[in-house]
């Protein structure tokens, strides 16, 4: 009797989810990390999708739009499982979200094999910008090394001669390092990649001090940034050596930095394709509506990407006259990308990655709220370096 219960309960619980399909709805499956400490980004992105949904009036190409969110738990196999569920059970027309390259690497093939259009809203898996590019694969964010390449250029512009590089010892961390080394023209006086289990940089910081660089490049996203920047100040380096970061200071964690009173972050530079004060009408509306939706926060670039991802899909559906099943027409519409992007105008390369500007951004304290502000354009119309490896 028990065994029946044991087996029947999960089956019943799963079957309880209605699978009857409402006619002619356009369904978008969104896989994000909504648990674990990494959910700090995922939750912002979810809110941004909802803002985009509101801006679209809950419709795409005249048809009702449904967003289905799933949590990948920061695990590739879970991400893949959720993607399968979205494809096979919920029968979504599009898949988007995907913060992490490993989750994307496991999940994207499922969607692409099923003939779905897949839009990465964050993970900048470099293989998909080059060798593995696919006609149905779009990226509404960036390729991993683009941003750090822009940083290298910015360091040249700012006259940094001796640079110390600090990153994490995993794929994205190495791609960031490769990016900055590709464009930075001065000397790299030291380089350390620490394992992701480390939260204490005592050894590395001592090496930085000994090397006496005139700039430190860091890639320490999320909680690593919190810990690293704290220790940077404790070692007194904030007074001597300016910090240049990529993906380590953003709208998602600035409120946390502010809460922890990490004042030395103010004035530091980073690079990004977007900033909340980028001057265009779409962006202004997005930033304002996002704040209303999400704790009064200023959106991060994650949120901006999520917003653009859904708008990109909407542009495709619109071009196909509301027929989401007509993948060719949808794709063509998406390639043209005729929609109001938070970046101003957006355009895609043949590998379906954005060709876009990168800006130098600085942390400022405006009206008591820490935020990122555009300083200057560092590079214009930048495309991933591996674009020509794409045979589309």
């Amino acid at each position: 009797m028990l065994k029946k219960l044991i087996l029947a309960a999960p089956l019943a619980a799963m079957l309880a989810v209605p699978s009857v399909e409402a006619a002619e709805k356009i369904k978008v499956g969104i896989v994000l990390t909504l648990t674990t400490p990494a959910s700090i980004m995922g939750k912002q992105m979810k809110a941004a999708y909802e803002v985009a949904y509101d801006h679209l009036g809950g419709k795409m190409g005249g048809k009702e739009l449904e967003l289905i969110f799933e949590d990948d738990g920061l695990k590739p196999n879970i991400g893949k499982q959720k993607t399968e569920k979205l494809v096979k059970k919920d029968k979504v027309d599009f898949l988007t979200g995907y913060i992490w390259s490993h989750v994307l690497g496991a999940s994207a093939p499922v969607a692409l094999k099923a003939g779905k259009i897949f839009v990465s809203a964050n993970a900048g898996h470099s293989l998909y910008a080059g060798k593995k590019c696919h006609k149905n694969f779009f990226n509404a964010a960036w390729e991993n090394s683009q941003n750090s390449m822009a940083m290298g250029t910015m360091l040249n512009q700012r006259g940094v001669k001796n640079l110390y590089i600090l990153s994490l010892n995993y794929a994205a961390g190495k791609q960031m390092v490769a990016g900055v080394e590709r464009t930075f023209k001065g000397n790299v006086v030291g380089k350390d990649l620490v394992p992701t289990s480390h939260k204490d940089w005592s050894a590395e910081i001592a090496k930085v001090k000994a090397a006496k660089p005139d700039g430190v490049f860091v890639f320490y996203p999320g909680s690593w940034g919190l810990a690293f920047f704290t220790q940077y100040k404790q070692a007194g380096l904030d007074k001597t050596t300016p910090l240049y970061s990529v993906f380590s200071v953003d709208g998602a964690n600035l409120p946390v930095y502010q809460k922890r009173k990490m004042k030395h972050m103010i004035g530091t530079f980073n690079t990004m394709f977007w900033a909340p004060d980028l001057d265009n009408a779409v962006n202004k509306r997005f930033v304002a509506d996002f704040a209303k939706k999400y704790k009064g926060q200023i959106p991060s670039h994650y949120a901006a990407q999520a917003y653009d991802s859904l708008m990109l899909i909407a542009a495709g559906v619109k071009a196909a006259g509301g027929d989401a099943k007509n993948t060719d027409a949808v794709r063509k519409g998406m390639e043209e990308a005729d929609f109001g992007s938070v970046r101003g105008k957006i355009k895609f390369g043949k590998n379906h990655f954005p060709i876009q500007n990168f800006y130098a951004r600085q942390v400022i304290n405006k009206n008591g709220q820490w935020q990122l502000s555009v300083r200057q354009t560092v590079v214009e119309d930048h495309a991933p370096v591996m674009s020509n490896e794409c045979k589309l």
Binding site: K3, P10, N77, K88, K174
Partner: protein, 323 residues
């Protein structure tokens, strides 16, 4: 096969588990839940890893807290060869099995010199070491993992792992083979040595068994069986990443074995089905499902020792030997 087994609750339950696995590809579409076939494919692959863990833990008393590492090694054998364009199963599979066996030999040789708590912690530490090593190898994707474009090629006409049903039943057949091997082995002379060593290792020495070699052999066999799970996982998921050897997965494997019924042949399969369905259901109910799952795990440990098999065995009249 006789029908005797259907006379006990355990027998019915065990038969049901197998039937569920056989017919899921037809049950799932019939109830409009196609994706259940994938879920069960995945369950059976995890079950193979759990069966191999059960072999050393349930029968041999070796609590390996790093078992997931062998799933990773098997998986990477497929992934690394595939990334070099070598898709032949006759290269991928033997190498995958040999490498998992070799790693098991090295890890086992050091870990088995110690006992009890030391063994648990050392296997965990080695698994973490290999995990970090795999994360630092950029050539093979680092933590991004490797997407596998083509599944293992056996070069047999009409046998293609890309076909979903072929893949599913390949997994099924191999899982059943692992169950049979376990059953055969635990009742063999070798298996008795392993089981007796679990029961009383010191006595084994004094009646003339140098148990180290036997335990190490069992550890290597289990490592290879777990490597098989990895080979299948890589093909089934078309993807490998260091994540598959993270220590929490080793912990989950232990739980699966205990939940199903440690030291029973079919326990790991039942445990895998219940565990994976439960986590699926719970994660659909709430994102914070660990809040429910953690206490559930504790309750199982405190009040349901012997797992499902142990519970069902209580309804049996005569205490029969473990089959």
């Amino acid at each position: 096969m006789n029908l005797e087994i259907l006379k006990t609750p355990r027998g019915i339950y065990n038969s049901l588990l197998i039937l569920l696995c056989i017919f899921m590809p037809w049950i799932a579409p019939a109830i409009g839940q196609d994706f259940f076939t994938d879920v069960f494919g995945r369950i059976m692959i995890v079950a193979i890893a759990a069966i191999s863990l059960n072999l050393i833990m349930g029968f041999g008393g070796m609590i390996s807290f790093g078992h997931a590492v062998f799933v990773g090694i098997g998986g990477y054998a497929v992934g690394i060869f595939a990334s070099h364009g070598i898709e032949s199963a006759y290269i991928q599979w033997p190498v995958g099995l040999l490498m998992s066996g070799l790693f098991a030999l090295i890890i086992g040789a050091i870990s088995l010199r110690t006992r009890g708590v030391y063994f648990i912690m050392i296997t965990l530490a080695f698994a973490q070491m290999i995990y970090f090593l795999s994360v630092s190898i950029e050539k093979y994707g680092s933590d991004d993992g490797l997407t596998i474009d083509a599944r293992s090629d056996f070069g047999i006409p009409f046998y293609d792992l890309n076909d979903a049903l072929t893949m599913y039943f390949t997994v099924f057949v191999l899982m059943v083979a692992c169950l049979l091997i376990t059953r055969k082995m635990v009742n063999s002379r070798f298996g008795r040595v392993i089981r007796a060593a679990k029961s009383n290792d010191e006595r084994m020495h004094t009646i003339g068994y140098p148990t180290y070699g036997y335990k190490l052999t069992a550890f290597v066999i289990a490592g290879m069986m777990c490597g098989l799970s990895g080979l299948l996982s890589a093909n089934f998921e078309d993807f490998v990443s260091p994540d598959m050897m993270f220590w929490t997965f080793s912990g989950e494997l232990i739980f699966i074995v205990v939940l199903g019924g440690m030291g029973t042949i079919m326990g790991p399969l039942g445990g895998a089905i219940i565990f994976l369905l439960l986590s699926e259901v719970l994660s659909n109910i709430t994102n914070s499902w660990h809040l429910i799952f953690g206490p559930f795990l504790i309750l199982v440990v405190l009040f349901a020792r012997g797992g499902v098999e142990g519970f069902l065995a209580k309804f049996e009249k005569s205490p029969e030997a473990k089959s």
